[in-house]
């Protein structure tokens, strides 16, 4: 035992114990896992929330010095971005100007024209300010931030923003800082408005940039009641010079003293900006996320065979996500701060960690035997996959370790996260997911067992009653030949995905609701953010009507701005939140507000106070806070300077109060100003305008919402043309309960597959054989009928009575009367000598119509009928009535007896089958196996006779009575017939045709271009059947299955072995051992693929050339009832009503289909991807690629309880299935063209 194997065993054992533990104590383990997840995620709380909002840090002005680049350990409060010089220093000069005293001769324009005009002189003052002291002469030019040119593409800003020189921004920029232009401007507001962007805007507007205060606080409008104009002159400095700034501040204060100003000027605020994500970055990010979701979708849809698919998928996703969170949390805990952009690397981390393990676990657990206990299943599933899981994890860890040694910091960090994520993912898989899986499996077990118990009890006679009742959601079939889906129970899983999604959407009306909610939110946002909308309106109302009055009129301002994260305790800012309102201005404002509200109508001129009061409140101290947080980044980005990951320092504002006399205001008037209408009308129109805008917005939003809903409605109608909840046109006449619709009330469209019923047999069909053109069937009464598979006509009837009677004493009267005993008798008696010429019969009843039928096609193996019918019996009646038992019964009794007749009908008490049994007993021998090649029907009887009949004429051509034991299976290939007998011997016969060569006719069968024309037996020929070799003890026990293809004959027996013979020389090539039960199903085809299934539920794939076993899988709990292979997969059905689809090359189970009880015994493959199964009175078509149920075709009305036991797929894509005493021919039209 190598180290590797020992290791493997140890790991497997450990996983087994772990699985037991998890399945035994699910709840404590889930609690423990949740607790550990939360613990590991706890450090995440300390991380700053992701966002692009700026961060602030406040320092004092007096002892300010430019921070060094090196991080200094002593300053704990200092954020880590506060290093090095800032991008710029911002010095704002906040100007509040008013015309005082106000008199009635002034027009509204005077409120802001002359105050704005003062900006030019102030600008001059600032530009020309020179500070000289011992160290030299400094002017603004030397200190300010020199800008070169505007960002290309901002042509419309060119006239407004400074293009070179100092970055100095003021409202004067509207007029190129030239007083003359300002004076000549007839309409200032229009000029200002001209540059405003249209529509909804989120970033800073030009007006905000130039005025330096939010638009509504500027007071530049006709309706400014307080008559105070506020604006700033913003100076951007590249270096800090305390003395220059001090002298500037002093100078301005001296020129324009602010009487009651108590603004603090000892703090400067540093604002750090984060990187903003633009659309250009967002698109790749969104793409990766879409790919991620597609990956998750495609992964989780593979989860199958569990109780709650969605629940497990959710658990899988939760596992991966929380393992990622845990990894970030743990890394943070150990001092590693993430520097990578989390959102960017997140999808890759998920992809690296992957969902594969989870899926592998699920698959492994699900594929364990269902009858085991839950915890054993979990443990077994875990230990099965333990080695691969450990191997994968070790490989991934190795790869990541290699990545770690690239020594690139970004990769190293990624790898570190990935390692921790992998480990925590493993932990979560083992504890969280396994436990969830065990809970799920347990739930399924219960449900499954409940459903399955009657079938497992296996007591056939008393069961049918309750079983029938329980099954009874009687498949509603309004008309016999319509196609409906099956009962809802297992259709849920089988619907196509897109339909399921659409149904889900339709059922929950999710789309409508989301869009409705979205519309409402959107309208809300629209109304709220509209500049002329409800917000300003509300703010104005509040400020007007609040009895205390709001100094500055901007009560909402601090709260509306983006609340910055405030770092470093700032006493002043804390204080400034509760500013002691000046006692004097408050009553002033109050009265003013009351006046405004009360006398808004006719005479507003009289109401305002004579002297507009200029007040300085705390909010002016940091007025920039009211601006958009994109204000500064926008300003700098115009000059191609990015503030991302950098910071600026904002110096305390310099307050400037300007009082202008009315004369001054009148002097600066433009001639057109007076032409403006008196303010009373604009006052009214202002409200009106606001209201109108509001209404407009509301109406627009409403219209858009209605439009959206209508659009959605149309879309919905297009997607779901079938109206649900009410009967559509197509089903108007049916009652709701009868609708063949699914849970959601949708009815599938009815398409046009209708089975063709072939009636004629009086009893249940026993054997079926076909060669593509003709179909031979034999019923319990022993009657053989030959049908044309193209048209469904009955060509020949070979009654049983004649031969039956005849066997006793040579030949019966009826038969001898027809055939003439003198010819037939010797022929049959001397058939050991063989080749005795049969005289051509001249009986007029059977004209020689079809003497040119094609012969056997060695390429196609259609000897379904050679299988004893017992294998195809329906379990609902005989829960355990599989072929093995019957065969055993045969072996015990040795002689066939009616009671052991291997038909399910015989056990039932129906009179017909009883009669049939009686008839069979009378006739002493019944047909057990039937084969059809060309014109010849080979029938093997229970008495051991092999008969060859002419299919067209219905005449007996040859009889061989060499063997004494009943023929259980027949194979007819080329000109050889192989018969397997009940005693385990195998007889090889040769059919010899003595015919003149000239009569040999060739004919290509229509619709079968690829099959070479084969010679056919004509009725002129003399046919003899000669026993060439008899293998006496081919098997120790009865042979149950016989298949022949590709020159090989394969037999399966009760003695657990499969033997392969060569057809030519009857030589046994291999004895294949591997099953632990009797063989029940064998498949071999022209490509030498051999598959066998046994009573142990195992399926073996063999290599026919070498006799070695290719794979061995356990798929069923009970017998494998039938096996079919396609090029890529193996399909098996078992007594457990499961159809399993296996990958042929790897032997991995792809998926399985749970059928209704008693359904899945017969299988057929029409094309590579179309599977047909027989059910209770119906056949179902499945898409092999996805396991979706395509259609179910009901065979007839009276089909309750009648199962399809045999199913034959013909070359022309027709399906023959037996159906009680009838045969059903179902054409699948659309498959024909796919067969190329």
């Amino acid at each position: 035992m190598t180290l590797r194997e020992r290791l493997r065993e140890k790991i497997s054992a450990a996983f087994y114990r772990h699985g037991l533990l998890c399945a035994s104590y699910p709840v404590p383990i889930i609690l423990f896992t949740s607790a550990s997840i939360l613990t590991c995620c706890y450090p995440l709380l300390r991380l700053p929330l992701p966002g692009t909002g700026p961060v602030e840090f406040t320092t004092g002005v007096r002892d300010y010095s430019v921070p060094s680049h090196e991080p200094q350990g002593d300053l704990g409060e200092r954020p880590d971005w506060y290093r090095g010089p800032p991008v710029a220093y911002i010095q704002q000069v906040l100007v509040k100007a008013s015309v005082s005293p106000w008199d009635s001769s002034l027009v509204p324009v005077d409120v802001f024209r002359s105050p704005l005009g003062r900006a030019f002189s102030l600008l001059e003052e600032i530009r020309n300010h020179v500070h000289s002291d011992g160290s030299g002469v400094r002017s603004l030019e030397t200190l300010c931030l020199q800008v070169t040119d505007l960002f290309p593409g901002l042509r419309r800003m060119q006239s407004v923003l400074p293009e070179h020189g100092c970055l100095l921004v003021s409202p004067g920029n509207y007029w190129q800082n030239q007083r003359e232009l300002f004076d000549l401007d007839p309409d200032l507001l229009k000029t200002i408005q001209k540059h405003e962007p249209k529509g909804l805007h989120t970033s800073a507007t030009l007006r905000d940039l130039l005025f330096g205060v939010p638009g509504k606080y500027t007071g530049v409008s006709h309706y400014n009641r307080k008559r105070v104009v506020t604006y700033t002159i913003t100076v951007v400095l590249s270096s800090y010079d305390a003395r220059f700034l001090g002298s500037l501040r002093g100078r301005l204060k001296q020129l324009h003293p602010s009487a009651n100003c108590s603004l603090r000027d000892d703090h400067m605020v540093h604002v750090h900006f984060k990187e903003e994500i633009g659309i250009a970055e967002l698109i790749p990010l969104v793409t990766t996320y879409i790919i991620l979701f597609a990956y998750i979708y495609f992964s989780t849809r593979k989860i199958d065979m569990v109780k709650s698919k969605w629940g497990l998928a959710l658990a899988a996703v939760v596992t991966v996500l929380s393992s990622l969170l845990m990894s970030v949390g743990l890394c943070t805990l150990f001092g590693l701060t993430p520097t990578l952009n989390g959102g960017e690397i997140f999808p890759y981390l998920v992809v690296v960690i992957g969902l594969e393990n989870v899926l592998v676990l699920t698959k492994s657990v699900v594929s364990t035997p269902v009858d085991l206990e839950v915890k054993l299943r979990i443990a077994q599933g875990l230990s099965n996959e333990s080695w691969s899981i450990m191997k994968n994890m070790a490989t991934e860890l190795c790869i990541i370790l290699i990545g770690y040694f690239t020594l690139v910091p970004a990769i190293q960090e990624f790898c570190l996260f990935a390692v921790v994520g992998l480990v925590s993912d493993f932990f979560l898989q083992m504890f969280f997911f396994t436990t969830v899986l065990s809970i799920d499996i347990r739930r399924m077990e219960l449900a499954d067992l409940n459903r399955r118990l009657p079938a497992e009890a296996g007591l056939p006679p008393p069961k049918p009653g309750p079983l029938r009742i329980r099954e009874v959601p009687p498949p509603p079939r309004p008309s016999p030949h319509t196609i409906t889906l099956q009962t809802p129970a297992f259709r849920n899983l089988r619907l196509p995905k897109r339909l399921r999604v659409v149904y889900f959407l339709a059922r929950t009306r999710l789309a409508q609701r989301i869009i409705m909610v979205g519309t409402v939110i959107w309208i809300g946002i629209l109304v709220y953010t509209d500049p002329a909308g409800i917000r300003t309106y509300l703010a104005a109302q509040v400020s007007e009507q609040s009895p205390l009055g709001d100094p500055g009129g901007g009560g909402l301002a601090p709260h509306l701005g983006v609340a910055p994260v405030f770092r470093g305790g700032d006493p002043t800012s804390a204080l400034s939140i509760h500013p002691p309102p000046d006692p004097t201005p408050v009553p002033e404002n109050q009265s003013q507000g009351h006046h405004g509200a009360a006398q808004a109508g006719p005479l507003p001129q009289a109401s305002p106070p004579a002297v507009p009061q200029i007040t300085w409140g705390a909010e002016d101290e940091e007025g920039w806070r009211r601006l958009s947080f994109r204000h500064w980044p926008s300003l700098f980005s115009y000059y191609n300077i990015t503030l991302a990951k950098r910071y600026i320092s904002i110096l305390p504002v310099i307050p400037v109060t300007v009082h202008l006399s009315p004369q001054e205001a009148i002097e600066t008037r433009h001639p057109q100003d007076t032409r403006h209408p008196p303010p009373s009308i604009p006052k009214v129109s202002a409200d009106l305008q606001t209201d109108l805008t509001l209404y407009k917005v509301a109406a627009l939003g409403l219209a858009a919402g209605v439009l959206l809903v209508l659009l959605l409605f149309c879309l919905y109608r297009v997607l779901c043309p079938r109206n649900y909840g009410q009967n559509g046109v197509a089903h108007g006449r049916r009652r709701r309960g009868d609708l063949p619709c699914d849970d959601y009330g949708y009815s599938p469209p009815v398409s046009e597959i209708s089975p063709l019923l072939l009636r004629g047999h009086s009893m249940d069909i026993e054997c079926l054989a076909s060669d593509g053109m003709l179909l031979a069937s034999c019923c319990l009464a022993g009657q053989i009928r030959v049908w044309d598979t193209q048209t469904g006509d009955c060509l020949t009837v070979i009654p049983n009575e004649g031969p039956m009677c005849g066997w006793d004493g040579g030949y019966g009267a009826a038969e001898s009367g027809l055939l003439g005993p003198e010819t037939l008798g010797p022929a049959c008696e001397e058939e050991g000598g063989g080749g005795y010429p049969l005289r051509r019969r001249t009986a007029p009843t059977w004209p020689t119509l079809f003497n040119d039928q094609p012969d056997l096609t060695p390429l196609i193996d259609t000897n379904f009928a050679s299988q004893p019918p017992s294998h195809l019996c329906t379990p609902p009646r005989h829960g355990f009535d599989f072929g093995g038992l019957v065969e055993r019964a045969y072996m015990e009794h040795e002689a066939p007896s009616p009671s052991a007749y291997p038909s399910p009908s015989s056990a039932s008490s129906s009179p017909a089958s009883a009669a049939g049994t009686q008839a069979a007993a009378d006739g002493e021998s019944s047909v057990w196996a039937l084969e059809l090649r060309g014109n010849l029907i080979a029938a093997g009887r229970s008495s051991g006779k092999l008969e060859l009949w002419d299919a067209v004429e219905g005449s007996l051509r040859c009889v061989n009575e060499d063997g004494g034991s009943g023929i259980t299976a027949l194979a007819f290939l080329n000109n050889r017939i192989v018969a397997a007998r009940l005693n385990g011997s195998l007889d090889f016969f040769t059919v010899e045709i003595n015919k003149p060569l000239g009569l040999l006719q060739y004919r290509g069968a229509p619709g079968r271009g690829s099959v070479p024309p084969s010679p056919c037996y004509s009725s002129e020929d003399v046919i003899s059947c000669q026993l060439t070799r008899s293998v006496q003890c081919a098997h120790q026990k009865p042979i149950t299955v016989l298949r022949a293809a590709a020159g090989r004959v394969v037999t399966g027996s009760q003695d657990h072995t499969v033997r392969v013979y060569r057809l030519e020389d009857s030589c046994c090539l291999f004895t294949l051992q591997g099953h632990s039960g009797g063989i029940t199903a064998i498949y071999i085809d022209q490509t030498m693929v051999l598959a066998s299934g046994g009573q142990d539920g195992a399926i073996c794939l063999w290599d026919v050339l070498t006799g070695s076993r290719v794979s061995h899988v356990y798929g069923h709990r009970g017998d494998v009832t039938s096996l079919v292979c396609t090029i890529s997969c193996v399909i098996s059905s078992g007594l457990d009503d499961l159809i399993c689809i296996w990958d042929r090359s790897t032997g991995i189970k792809l998926y399985s289909i749970q059928q209704e009880v008693g359904c899945g015994a017969s299988l057929g493959v029409i094309s590579e991807s179309l599977l047909v199964t027989g059910g209770q009175g119906c056949v179902s078509f499945w898409d092999l690629n996805f396991g979706d149920l395509l259609q179910t075709v009901y065979l007839g009305q009276s089909s309750d309880g009648q199962g399809v036991r045999q199913l034959l797929v013909l070359d022309n894509a027709a399906i023959i299935c037996d159906f009680g005493s009838e045969l059903s021919l179902v054409y699948v039209p659309s498959v024909l063209e796919k067969l190329d």
Binding site: I283, F298, V351, I411, P496, L499, S637, D1183, V1231, K1234
Partner: protein
């Protein structure tokens, strides 16, 4: 600088590019005639399932290739902090218009070649044939591109080696077939030679070429792109080759 940057986009798409404008025009004409003839043939034989199948696969691959080219190209264009949405849109479409179609065509060719080669060699690709794996492959490919743009390496050689290892890992994880490796190498070589020609003719240029005229990691990107597109192509071929049944519900 911005203009230069715009010129210096490095193509990450998995295919060839056409060179100079004149040449491009003539080539495009030729291509158009070929395409129209192909389309006519295809239309004529639309009932032929295989041709229709081929065209559908080609279209899907073309779309995927063009989309990936657009996105990854955007990833590689050095961005500015954008201000106005209209400018972002201009950035998005400012790069030469012919990149996405070219990459799409290349993707279609490579993606159709892979299953074709598989069937000719007679070794159908069975390894991890499922959509989840394909999605994972695409994600890793985008990740490699992302890494080539975002990572700061000391020198180009280190970056190239890392990316080469990553692309080999991609092949090993998702493909593991000799034909896939060979075709990937071929794609990489051809596409690199093509880009060399393009740059030589001055259609565009790279910021710091270290492998003749192009960046040395370009072949790795082409290789992983070839493998990825081949993966998609194979999956499509597998999924679409199954007969579509008229009888399936709706």
């Amino acid at each position: 600088m911005p203009r230069l940057e715009e010129h210096c986009w490095s193509c990450s798409c998995e295919t060839k590019h056409s060179s100079g404008a004149n040449w491009l025009a003539s080539k495009a004409e030729e291509m158009m005639s070929i395409i129209t003839s192909v389309l006519r043939n295809a239309y004529g034989s639309l009932h032929d399932v295989r041709a229709a199948n081929l065209i559908r696969r080609g279209l899907v691959l073309f779309t995927v290739g063009a989309f990936l080219a657009l996105v990854l190209n955007l990833l590689q264009i050095q961005r500015h902090v954008t201000l106005f949405p209209e400018e972002v849109m201009t950035t998005l479409f400012s790069s030469a218009w012919w990149i996405p179609p070219c990459c799409g065509t290349g993707a279609a060719v490579v993606g159709l070649l892979y299953p074709c080669l598989d069937s000719h060699l007679g070794e159908p690709h069975k390894f991890k044939r499922e959509w989840a794996s394909v999605m994972r492959c695409i994600a890793v490919f985008v990740g490699i591109n992302h890494a080539s743009v975002k990572l700061d390496f000391d020198n180009n050689v280190q970056l190239s080696l890392t990316l080469a290892a990553l692309s080999l890992g991609l092949w090993w994880t998702f493909d593991r077939s000799r034909s896939g490796f060979g075709l990937g190498i071929t794609t990489a070589v051809l596409a690199t030679v093509f880009t060399q020609l393009l740059v030589y003719n001055g259609v565009y240029q790279y910021t710091s070429p270290d492998f003749l005229y192009v960046r040395s990691w370009l072949p790795c990107i082409f290789f992983s792109g070839g493998v990825t597109v081949g993966n998609i192509g194979r999956q499509l071929a597998m999924v679409m080759s199954k007969p579509h049944l008229i009888l399936s519900v709706k």
